[in-house]
Amino acid sequence: MADVTLSPEEKAELDLDLVACAAAEAFTDAYYYAVEKDRGKISTFYCPKQIAADSTVPFIAWNSVVYNDGPSFQEYLEGLSHTHFEIEGLDCSILNRKFLPAAELKGGSNDDAKDFDRRMSIAVVATGSVRLEEPLTGPMREFAETFVLVPNTQKQVPRNPMFEKGWQQEWLIQTQNFRFTEWGASEVNDGKAGDTKANGVKNVFQRRNQSVAKHFAAAGLTIKGQGKV
């Protein structure tokens, strides 16, 4: 496949993908380092708070708790014990190459059909293991995390950035979703998490067809009237 000659569009695609991949690598290196060693810097990874009618960014969903700005999330992380993240799987995808309007790009050509390498939003997915509580001996869980990165309008980024000097917050986190996907072996064995019976909590699909009327009827109640007491 490697000898296939690329059309100009494909070539442009490839160059764009190259930037996105480099960004994904530089970003995850810097971010997980900061979560482990330099939590005071976490808030600088997030875009400024912006409240819109249909959504508020940054939208940080971390283990199903939602934070709506960098500083409050940083505060949460600062209260956590030791964490060591090891990325095992990494991938990225360009979401919207025109995320940043051409006019808002610092040092851009102001042409709507250009400068995608600095205007695009990028989705990054990382999976891996995370060591908690104690280095080397703490429980090790698996995690999966998704980030959407958007250009940092405060930075003037060179063309086709390759992040040779590391991550300089060229993109900022707009939305994020973190989940543990597997318990550490020790946690499962002591029965803390091995209990497969949930605490009666069901997901949205399990409640899908529970219409009230049906349940009321099943219990011998009618919606109209007093019902049998």
């Binding site: 993908d17 995320f99 309007p101 009321f216």
Partner: protein, 595 residues
Amino acid sequence: MASHRRVGGIRKHQRRDRDGDLVMGTAPRVSPATRHPPRSQQSASHGSNYTELRITGWTDEKEIPRLIQFLERHSSRRSPNPSKGGVPPIMVKRSKVVGNVLTISVRPDDVIAFSKINGFSFASAHGNQKLNIAGTGIRSRSPNHTTVSAAKPQTSETIDLFKAFLERRYDANLKLLNLSSLATDEEVAKSGMFETESRQSKFFPVLMTICDRQMKNAEAKRDAIHSVTLSNNGLPNLGVVKELAITLPEIKNLDLSSNKFTSTKDLSAWKHKFRGLEHLILTDNPLETSQPGWEQDIIKWFPRLRLLNGVQVRTEAQIARLDMPKQTPPPCQNGLWLDGDKIAENFLVEFFQGFDNDRNALIQKYYDSTSTFTMNVNAKARGGVVQHNRTPWDAYLPQSRNLKFITGRRSRFFRKQRGPDQIQTAWAQIPPTRHAGLDTNKYSMDCQPQPGLPDPSGQYSGVTGLMVTVHGEYEEHRTARGANEIVQRAFDRTFMLGPGGLSGVRVVSDMLCLRAAGGHAAWIPQGPTEVPVPIAAPAATLTPEQEAMVVHVCTATNLKREVAIQCLQAGNWNLEAAAQLFTAQKDTLPPDAFN
């Protein structure tokens, strides 16, 4: 008598070490004195740039050649310009004897070598003789070497001086040790303790040692001294005063103003020291202008620093958090599902059925020419449970775009699928799958708004869609390498759903991560089960009729008892009103309101 013998013993030892060969008489070299015949007399007229050194302590003039040989040998070993292998350099250039003083001329560079052998013992025929070398550049041997008896009162005098100084500089009310402007202190100047540079460098460590002795233990120190000021001492770095961090590690306030620190590097000796420091003053130091952003380093180094130059850098709440026990992230809590219009819900139901049964139809419905699909295999999952299903990933690997392993730029690019045709080809490579029903506990699903997705109509630069992340497992019918088995695979899949396409919903991006299956225990919610709203009425106050209604509502709606009571109270204990309330609010109730 006894002391004499002891001293003699030491000298003997020295002699054996340093000039054993002298006794053996093995000196092969021509003595410098013969190499330079009595030129000494004419030396003065040359007006050379040699340095003259005066050597005393010897007695017999006949032994001068041996003495010079002795000096020559010991100094050349300590020369700053050692010879490389061959003949050692000639150290004693000229010599002359006047009375009992031997004067030698040496190169100024070599003075240091002679300084080092000052006080050595020369083995003369009349016993060991201690040589004394004097001249410019020769450090005198410390006086206590010769005047042991006189030293004691002097030392205690010095200690008293330091004690008095500490007393004078300590303010018991403020618990402040004021060490500012040390150089201009009158008493210190009078004592001469600050006269030379070497004395200055010793002053502070001695002061700290004495301060240490004055107090019984760490607790006493902590109680007695809260603050230290070192302002106005012209300090270019912490070299001279760094002992403060050892003697008084628990001070709360420190004033370093009006010194000559030019960068935070000059302060790095106290990095991560003074763990309890709350207030630091660094005003009037060059670093304020020469290193913009210096505050960042300082704030990082002192975790409990509240005030820096009088400006608050940490709140009390932040400090309080430091003392709180660090927590481990709690286990899985309830799913996050912000999907008011059930877009993601309907999509997922259809997607997993379609992926198991008719992938092409799914692509036609939800994927368009700009949709992307990527897949990555994480074959090395280290965390998690012990027994993973380690079935090989053969059928998947040619497509895996795990950026941790696939590093070629073209390989990465060709593993990214764009548009229905490419995605169809890619999906055809994935073995047949069977996903469990979504209404089981085998998934963890989150759905949250995702602004800024591309608008297919081109009208806006970004539209808001949904980010859906699903973690779960599926069964795979594995036929690779002649196998015919059902294996379990775990996956994390992220969909970005935007408006557009035939069905009104299109997949902007679909990213699939695959892992070895290790069970689904992690996404069974373990979160707190109490309802956040306070319970209005305790059960005891219910009438029998009300009790029966509560039971009915509980069984009918699957609501928790407490929530059911609330619902009925809100409906004024009218079942119909309560039912209407429930219908109106059931979507906004937290998931843990249900049994």
